[in-house]
């Protein structure tokens, strides 16, 4: 009995002792502001300044909130498999043949000395010259041997590689050969007009990550090889990582000038830390305390709270919608067009016209969004290519009953509404052009009378409770699948959309699901009615990636239980099929290619084959206490995303503030 008391007393003493020890620690350096702004750790010495939790000087460390929170496979650094993509690998470590300027959408040379030389008129043979004087982080020179070895390894292990990009390469390349140390040739499996973006970067990532031949050829099995201490091409090397997947620390190479992108200029931070700071509640506190510099997808409410406490927290733009809207993927409603009653265009149009998008955006995103009526994001790159040329057509477009559904005044109306709600005029863009650039070219009218007319025209009726009945008399139950907690922005938007439809009398079941189920629903006809999705990602004039499978051959019966392999829109439109097929036979920079893109967009609209909602609101606030010069609307050298090649542009362009 006494021993139990003794043990309890010891445990209590331990607890108290722990409190005392922790309490005795020096208080963190506090900046003289009203907010409780604290550095990450107490200074090691007054001269050294604050230190990070991983023991580096805070003033020399750029800290990103990790995109994927806790990584599932922290010691897996083999780019043939998944997980060596985030936490600095794509951004700092790997080198690519061609990179993409995220501000303009134009490809530029990184490891390649020039764009590929097309060797035959069939577009199946390509010659690539490499830059000289680029070295791996262990001092071995990068040559054509590395590229050819990588391609051959991918082809040889095709069925064991699980990374999607490598799978694309394995189906794209027929053979590769070295010509000399700095030249190689590739033969593709068919005519290829997108060689630069398939072998280089398109939007955020690249299919082909080049392996160091001198490391990999010594491995018994390149698939199970984890590459825990990776030899890399970028100007940073992996210094340390958390075995539990919460952080990774990178250190600048001494010889960064001869790395893959050393030519871009000096990478300013000596260290780059990717770290998870927990859910939004704790992230917000850490952000206010200057514990990290760049966030990923913080909600508008939290950003406002952070700004109120810490003036160093800034958004992309000083006026609404405050955030950069140039992500390649739009949010929209994926519809199973095979299933009744969604197989009728009148029903799909009724869904679009009964959606009060202004209310949805105000309720879920505080009005900080940019609408897009097309299955494409209304970005600065795509607007002059597809949106502006189609604007007159959109304004004139009429449904079969003669009704013109497009609302070109969507943005001014939204701005007026926001002003009425209390937004100061200084926070809103001024003038039609600025409003259009901020909130979009327009969207569909919120017109429940026309939506009602459309539903009635195909046999729908409303019952006494105001619920819509299908032509067979049953209540129309619409299942709308939305992401759960794993994508809170979409979750909020989804619930708000369901609310809008419910007000119109549609019995919506907004079902939030985990990520695996979300994809299962997307790919399975039997599970899909409607789903909030980000399919249809296009970043440049080249839309083939998004629409190449719009074809009859990938259509399956309405309730088929086997997963689809293409045509996620379940779109049976002969003209669209022909256009998508023709686009794949053309150079992506040709006038006809672009014209086909515009024609396809028109077909999408006529059929309302996908209800485009808005650009992804990339809410990425920065904290400029230790570093300044991040990409902003008035300093737009790249998009502000920390997980694209823009991270490289950011790293060479930012400057230390001198605060320690």
């Amino acid at each position: 009995m006494r021993s139990i008391f003794r043990t309890s007393a010891l445990l209590l003493a331990f607890l108290v002792f722990g409190l005392i020890v922790a309490g005795c620690q020096a208080a963190p350096a506090v900046e003289p502001t009203k907010a409780p702004v604290a550095a990450t750790q107490a200074p090691a010495s007054p001269a050294a300044g604050a230190m990070t939790d991983v023991g580096t000087p805070r003033s020399e460390t750029l800290i990103f909130q990790t995109f994927d929170r806790q990584t599932a496979n922290p010691d897996q650094h083999n780019p043939l498999m998944a997980y060596a993509q985030w936490r600095g690998f794509r951004e700092l470590a790997w080198g690519y043949l061609w990179e993409m300027d995220t501000g303009t959408g134009k490809s530029y040379n990184e490891l390649a000395a020039d764009f590929p030389e097309v060797l035959n008129k069939e577009y199946t043979q390509f010659r690539v010259k490499l830059k000289q004087g680029i070295y791996w982080s262990d001092g071995v020179e990068f040559t054509a041997d590395d590229v050819v070895y990588t391609l051959e390894t991918i082809l040889k292990n095709k069925d064991k590689i699980t990374l999607g990009g490598a799978r694309t390469i394995s189906n794209y390349v027929k053979s590769a050969k070295k010509i000399d140390n700095y030249t190689f040739e590739v033969e593709t499996t068919g005519p290829k007009y997108d060689f630069i973006t398939v072998f280089g970067t398109y939007t955020w990532g690249a299919n082909l990550t080049i392996l160091p031949k001198h490391v990999y050829e010594k491995q018994a099995d390149v698939i199970t090889f984890r590459n825990t201490n990776p030899v890399t091409l970028g100007p940073y090397t992996l210094k340390q990582f958390d075995p539990n997947g919460y952080w990774a620390l990178w250190q600048r190479r001494e010889d960064w000038k001869r790395s893959a992108w050393g030519w871009m200029g000096e990478p300013k931070p000596k260290y780059v830390l990717y770290k998870d700071f927990g859910p939004e509640e704790t992230r917000l506190l850490a952000f206010i305390q200057n514990q990290y510099d760049v966030d990923t997808f913080m909600s508008p409410d939290s950003i406002k709270a952070a700004q109120a406490k810490n003036p160093a927290v800034t958004t992309f733009s000083k006026t609404m919608p405050y955030h950069n809207m140039n992500d390649a993927c739009p949010y929209g409603v994926l519809i199973n067009q095979h299933k009744s009653p969604l197989d009728k265009p009148e029903v799909r149009w009724a869904l679009a016209l009964s959606l009060d998008l202004q209310s949805v955006g105000v309720n879920s995103m505080s009005g900080e969004f940019k609408a897009s009526p097309l299955p494409m994001a209304d970005t600065e790159i795509l607007r002059p290519l597809y949106f502006e040329p189609l604007l007159p057509w959109l304004k004139d477009f009429a449904l079969s009953d003669g009704y013109k559904p497009f609302n070109a005044n969507f943005s001014p109306e939204l701005a007026a509404r926001l002003q009425k709600m209390g937004q100061p005029a200084s926070a809103l863009p001024q003038g039609d052009k600025a409003l259009s650039e901020a909130f979009g070219v327009g969207w569909w009218k919120y017109d429940v009378a026309e939506a009602e007319k459309l539903l009635t025209s195909v046999g729908f009726k409303k019952n006494s409770a105001g619920a819509w009945l299908q032509p067979d008399g049953s209540v129309w139950q619409l299942e709308f699948v939305i992401p759960g907690d794993w994508n809170k922005v979409m979750q909020r938007i989804g619930f708000s959309m369901a609310d809008s439809w419910k007000k119109f009398g549609i019995q919506v079941n907004a079902r939030q699901v985990d990520q695996a189920e979300h994809t299962s629903v997307q790919n399975n006809n039997s599970q899909l009615q409607t789903e909030l999705m980000w399919t249809s990602c296009t970043f440049t004039a080249n839309y083939v990636n998004a629409w190449r499978t719009i074809s009859a051959q990938y259509l399956k019966p309405a309730n088929d239980t086997t997963p689809i392999t293409g045509n996620p829109f379940r779109w049976n439109n002969t003209k669209a099929h022909a256009l998508a097929a023709e686009a794949q036979t053309l150079p992506t920079d040709s006038a006809r290619f672009r014209e086909i893109g515009q024609e396809l967009l028109k077909e999408f609209v006529k059929d309302m084959a996908w209800i485009g909602i808005m650009n992804i609101p990339t809410t990425i606030p920065t904290n400029e206490y230790y570093w300044t010069g991040f990409p902003k609307q008035d300093n737009f050298y790249s998009v502000p995303y920390s997980w694209w090649s823009s991270a490289r542009e950011m790293i060479v362009n930012i400057k230390p503030t001198g605060k320690r």
């Binding site: 922790a22 620690q25 409780p36 599932a72 998944a82 958390d242 539990n244 927990g278 189920e517 997307q522």
Partner: protein, 333 residues
Amino acid sequence: MGLIKYIAGRVGVYLVVLFTGITIIFFLPRFMPGDPIEGYIGRMQYQAGQTLSAEDVESLRASLRELYGLTGSLPSQYLGFIKRVFISGDFGPSLAGYPRPVSEYIATALPWTLGLLTMTTILAWTTGNLIGLFAGFFHNKRIATVLEVIGVTLYPIPYYILALVLIILFAYIWPIFPLSTTIMPGALTMQKVGEIFRNSFLPGMALVLAGFGWNVLGMKAMAYSTKEEAFVNYARLKGTPPFTIMIHYVWRNAFLPQITALALHMGMIFNGAILTEMLFSYPGVGSLIRSAIGNGDYNMIYGTLSLSIVAVATTALAIDLLYPLFDPRIRYK
């Protein structure tokens, strides 16, 4: 002979529970709407910013089915699973983290879970029961009322709120503990022990406070009712000192159900503390289970839940076998 029969009966039940539990967890994920392959393909589809072509999707799907061991009929997969689990304890590779084995994930996460939850469960149990005992035995004293009020106040606070309050107090307003966990890899030195302690303190404190109230209330009720029993009154009338009554008469009887509760809590430790891990970015089994369910990672679900089933069943067996030592009535039977 009676003892052997007693032990054999308990061990028999234990084995049946294990087999049934592990069989159920094989089939359970198969009824989930998420599919590990489709989930993985979905993630891959956009990883390079390039939608996979139909040919890529088809070949990736076929490869994954083969690599993940999802080919063949369900009964044949079940037999293979039972054979692997019961003979070699092998749960195969994680489907979301292929080809890393599930056992490696568990081996990395488990020490954190065990360390944090064992410590906090025992602390919450010990302090809660001690306070509950005093509060119940001396129920008419003011200090007992105060202690009870503390228990009643803490008990209903949702864990998430309680933990957030602690974070705001001790990591934000008075920033003496880190907001999120950062533990440097490397050998276990005294410095590292201190680092672990500093990083674990807030998560631990949140768990102790969350479990403490329940123990206070449970023990207080038991102690209060036991002290009114006839044998306690008899001891009191005989002139037995109050402290002796409290320890030898009340506590020994009142703590029996609490022992069962402690043992079951210890078994549940293997489930991890999902909210704690999420809030504090603390490593552990809870986040493995959470992400396994989210990704439809069958093998990870099998591995983590089997661990939990084995732990709960084993602690239940241990209670059954050890209970006679605490309770002479069972020994007598």
